[in-house]
Amino acid sequence: MQAEEVEPAPGSAWFIGAAAWFVPGLGHLLLQRWWRAALMGGAVWVCFFVGMAMGGHLFDLNAEGSSVLLQVPPMIANLGTGVLYVVSWLLDYGFADDPAQAARATYEYGNTFLLIAGLLNYLTMLDAFDIAAGRKP
């Protein structure tokens, strides 16, 4: 049995994928898929800002001892939001371990929204990459 040959993706597909990760929705905009950009990118932006408004917490590697490892999976999820994460990190907004913030009723909901925003953007990025590589109509 022979393995199916897969055509290598063109460089532009990698560029589109990177753009789609960095700015949610940009990949589909560059592909002129306006509706997809609005729906998928919009969902990520809304998810992120709703998470922030709920007082959610963004994860980075600022932890002590072995708990650093526990920060890695949620940080990878948060990183999926691309420029939103980078700007928040540069402004140091959303990363503080504030007990008053953690006591808010919506804190965990906010965390979940922020994690899901990143994960949804990874899906959006893969969709844009597949379209750019010609693997999807």
Binding site: W35, R36, L39, M40, A43, V44, V46, C47, V50, T112, F113, I116, L120, L123, T124, D127, P137
Partner: protein
């Protein structure tokens, strides 16, 4: 939970299937599944001390 289900189902629906009608139906199906499973799990956890 409703907002979360709506946002996630929009992305899932937009990604999947071939035609717009199939995408819409799939998105609605995913939304309904999120809601039903969320409510069922909520009630199960309500009775667990």
């Amino acid at each position: 939970m409703t907002l979360f289900a709506a946002l996630a189902s929009v992305v899932f629906g937009a990604m999947a299937k071939d035609t717009n009608r199939e995408r819409l139906l799939y998105g609605l199906k995913v939304f309904a599944e999120f809601m039903v499973i969320g409510l069922v799990l909520g009630w199960i956890l309500y009775f667990i001390p």
